[in-house]
Symmetry: D2
Subunit: 264 residues, 4 copies
């Protein structure tokens, strides 16, 4: 059967493709947190791409699927994703490869007073970029919701203060040989940066504790991202840190956001 | 050109189709609130379908598009949607037709203290079901966010109370000849059922007012739907009233919901 | 600490709550297909609710979380979800309980010519409704995409035929004691009802096979749901079967849908 | 009332905020295409933000709402969005401001054979970035679906070829004083880059035409973005052009994407 992708020129000798590949791919993962050795099997969303030189018409899409299928059985850490990305470069004869895989990760939480245990979800993305020549990087992205209680509302009101869920996302781009922080360590830094952590299972005594704790720790959306940046920007080998928070305001139907970008 | 949909039998002489048609169709609307005479042009999401007898293989999809295109230019009220649905019955030789069209609707709000004006969005859906024989109905659905402050958190805590955005949806199915409530009248009933209304534009004096007002009016998610049902269930000609609220909890990452269904 | 939910009357002595509970809850599952004994750990989306009598103000939300946490560790089948729902009735002193849990499920597929293996995702929902008095039911819902090639386009065109992804969803509501079909058996019935199955990993010889196979098996969206209903409606103990297909049309920006409802 | 945002230092003297503001804001727009003079009222999604110096704790969120409310009544072009962004700089005493507003835009299409008229939607985003010192830019983003028929599938198969909807997005970042292309001119360039355009309303003779036309014009996802880049990259004043296409593959459940980035 003819190989159209390879046989023909692109017809566009001056236009290289920045990235071409597959996205929206649901495939299982055994995600490994190398810092703790814990692994969890889950559904994952994969995206893989390569740059394509100007003279080549098409990439070979099925090779991405083979790579994912091979990687899907064994535990896969952030360094594993980096190695997988680096292996795409010769496999697709590409000048640069990039990939990301996103999955839900669960951690045990204890309610602050009752000490009851439940499992809280966060969204983790392992990503990497690998050029044929030069330095590869890896990116750990963690999204976790927390509580934000408005300092302005508290200061000006005689009683109460509006508060809301805040979706906080941290993205740490690291040198290839850097040690990666444990998922829970990043989450702890995020939760300590907001008014309070969120819990799946709370009894009344816990609800009282969190209500009062949040009231005593008001933060603006700007405070959250700065607090988190301060806790995370000294991670060894970090090249770029992005922290974004989106407050689902409870006095408005729209959201408020803030973003910090730290480059080393 | 051969008409495959009409020419062939279905091959399934015992299986009628409950509904077949088009969905995910973006088409403009000039939405008319007949109770007030106000109209607004907007983008809209259309869904139209008909039942198909067991012996007929396919419907004629392009007729739905013609119907929407014809309706799109002039102001369209809930009664207009009902008439459009009734016209689909002979147009597609169908035993029953149904449709819905959803759009954003804006209303002017005044901040409670500063009296500053801004425009708040809600989501309105006009729907109807029309059988070839028997009574047609029309359905007005309005979704609007409001504020919910937790009575339990307030009662047990020494300071503060957790509160959050609550997405409230009211769906009123009415007799074909019933008078339809104005959109704003339904929204007022919803907002009065929650701890406070949400506003796009608030100055500090307004934020203080709403914070304290909500603190003084705590409601559970169950309270919201019952309060709204009480205000709305006496609408003339009402056949079924459904009220659902979803609280985007600010001490949990999950949501709490409640739903009331009243049939007359 | 005062129990506001239990202590107070509802203030609405005539308005019962149809369902109140938690939704949007991400919690892990070890999903078990009882028909085959296969289990898969995954992230899951949980929704649990109970009816609430008119005189009771609020339910006890934390009990839903306890129930999920307890169920989360061991393999959970559709019958397990039914048992869990039945246990909610006394646990929350409710007249009726309902729940659903949705997760990604992967199955091995072999490409039709190359016989290469890959894992394809479908979305499975286990659901149940359990009244305090009367018969409980359980519902197996499976959503899987397939290929639909238009019979009209093929018949009227000199070359080619438009074809597209079709999202097909089957929902089987069963008596409590009915045997549940294996997930793969339902999927096989769906895929045989469309123009072709979709595969994650295909080589050129497979692509040629599927292109020609789909061209030889054209189906309207109405055909898909009727074909699937015919294959599934004789499942033992079935009470209601709903099949819906949504074709992501490749000659339109909107979708076409069809739905069959069979009640026994 | 105390102004907490302004009164306090940030507590983080070394951490500036890259962007802080509002997002997820639904507000009406009268969108103006300055190249043609056509305007359309619609619902719009607004996002506005400013950078915040390290020593300032919080921005003044309500000023974004005032700016949107003032802009909402009159026709707003891309140059109007640029002027609005530039006005945010002094209004919020910010080192840089950025904003975007996204809306559905409808254009008349004529079916290729029947010449029947219908209205097709695309998604347009007007954006701008304005620094206190230096050059501002404006960005026109247009997303429109088209048809992609696979050249490989056609070449290797004896009959038929798989084809699918492709979501194509073009983003043109322009110098502040550059002339902006008409929306329809960009869309025409996109549609000419794919296998065929999509139409809301088609009769059988049109369906035949498009089926055959697409079969005669096969394109890979890489071809689409290169074809579009060639047609668009010579726009006057262009600084960066990004073209991305996502094919909703009809032989896979996942998507294929390609992206070109041209910088001048």
């Amino acid at each position: 059967l003819i190989d159209i992708q390879a046989a023909a020129g692109s017809g566009h000798p001056a236009i290289a493709i920045a990235s071409v590949g597959v996205t929206g791919l649901s495939y299982p993962i055994v995600a490994l947190d190398a810092a703790t050795g814990e692994s969890q099997r889950s559904a994952a969303d994969w995206r893989l791409g390569v740059a394509l030189p100007a003279e080549q018409r098409g990439t070979h899409m099925s090779r991405f699927l083979s790579a994912v299928h091979e990687a899907s059985a064994a535990p896969l850490s952030l360094d594993g994703v980096l190695a997988m990305t680096q292996a795409l470069v010769p496999r697709l004869a590409a000048p640069v490869a990039e990939m990301s895989v996103a999955f839900s990760w669960y951690r045990e939480m204890k309610a602050p007073v009752s000490q009851l245990t439940s499992l809280a979800a966060c969204r983790v993305t392992y990503g990497a970029t690998a050029p044929a020549h030069g330095d590869a990087t890896k990116t750990l992205t963690i999204a976790v919701p927390a509580k934000a209680l408005c300092p302005c509302s508290k200061a000006i009101s005689e009683r109460g203060a509006h508060n809301q869920r805040s979706d906080v996302t941290v993205s740490m781009t690291l040198a290839a040989d850097a040690t990666t922080w444990a998922i829970n360590r990043v989450i702890t830094a995020i939760e300590a940066s907001a008014s309070a952590a969120l819990y799946p299972l709370l009894k009344r005594e816990d609800e009282k504790f969190i209500t009062e704790f949040a009231y005593d720790n008001p933060v603006f959306v700007e405070d959250i991202v700065r607090n988190a940046a301060e806790r995370l920007s000294d991670a060894p080998g970090i090249k770029t840190l992005v922290v974004e928070a989106i407050n689902r305001e409870s006095i408005h139907a729209h959201d408020c956001f803030a973003r910090v970008v730290v480059s080393r």
